[in-house]
Symmetry: C2
Subunit: 143 residues, 2 copies
């Protein structure tokens, strides 16, 4: 069972930018997180649309973690990036067992439990206390 790669990247980017007091750029994030620059750029765009990152224009431009996003939960982030997909594809291609399948409902309940745990965790919690400053010392180059 795996989260989409973009969800994973979004969580890493959110965590790192939440820990950082200043602005950062796509290039810096790609180095810090050791991730492909073009993937980082796409995920940063989605995070901007979601209001997790705010654009700073000008020569010293880049993105900064939005203060309000501290209260956003990991569950909300995962829902936003994963969409409404179920953990198995019953419809593409169509599974002949669907009309009498009890498994689908149980898998949905399990998925709800998974997200329920993450609904209790705010992005701010991930960088509270000592975690935030330590995060900034990691990776290829400090933010």
């Amino acid at each position: 069972m795996k989260l989409n790669r973009s969800t994973d990247m979004a969580l890493r980017i959110a965590m790192l930018t939440a820990a950082s007091p200043g602005r950062t750029t796509v290039d810096e994030l790609a180095v810090q997180l050791a991730l492909p620059r073009n993937h980082v750029a796409k995920v940063v765009q989605r995070l901007q649309r979601l209001g997790v990152l705010v654009t700073i224009r000008g020569r010293a431009g880049g993105v900064v973690f939005a203060e309000e996003a501290t209260a956003l939960t990991v569950g909300a982030m995962v829902r936003a990036f994963e969409g409404d997909d179920e953990v198995v594809d019953c419809d593409r291609p169509a599974c002949p067992l669907r009309p009498a399948c009890r498994l689908r409902g149980e898998l949905r309940r399990a998925q709800d439990a998974f997200l329920g745990v993450l609904d209790q965790v705010r992005l701010g919690d991930l960088v509270a206390g000592s975690a935030g400053p330590v995060l900034l010392t990691l990776g290829g180059r400090p933010l």
Copy 2:
């Protein structure tokens, strides 16, 4: 978030064979479930090793759902097929944030909650009452 295709197939095969009073074959399962025969064959082998399916030899040979497997849980099946993998790959490639990451623990807790729900569901529950007989009427050819 998706289960591996083989896990999904294993659950479908378990559900269908659990509903069936008689023996079946890989060919029949592939038709019934509208799944590729070679994938079905591999998953059936794993289900035999796990003791979910029992081999019947001879001209009218095939496989049959093992009576004891009725008590096996969906959670145990998912653990057996998915292994110990986490929902994100922190190590391949290595994520620089690992030393100060609080997300990993939360994702593990969420995964435990997911599996915890499925640990409450036995394979026998999926085919109890009317579900089993209805399952057998579905798909390309009745078992």
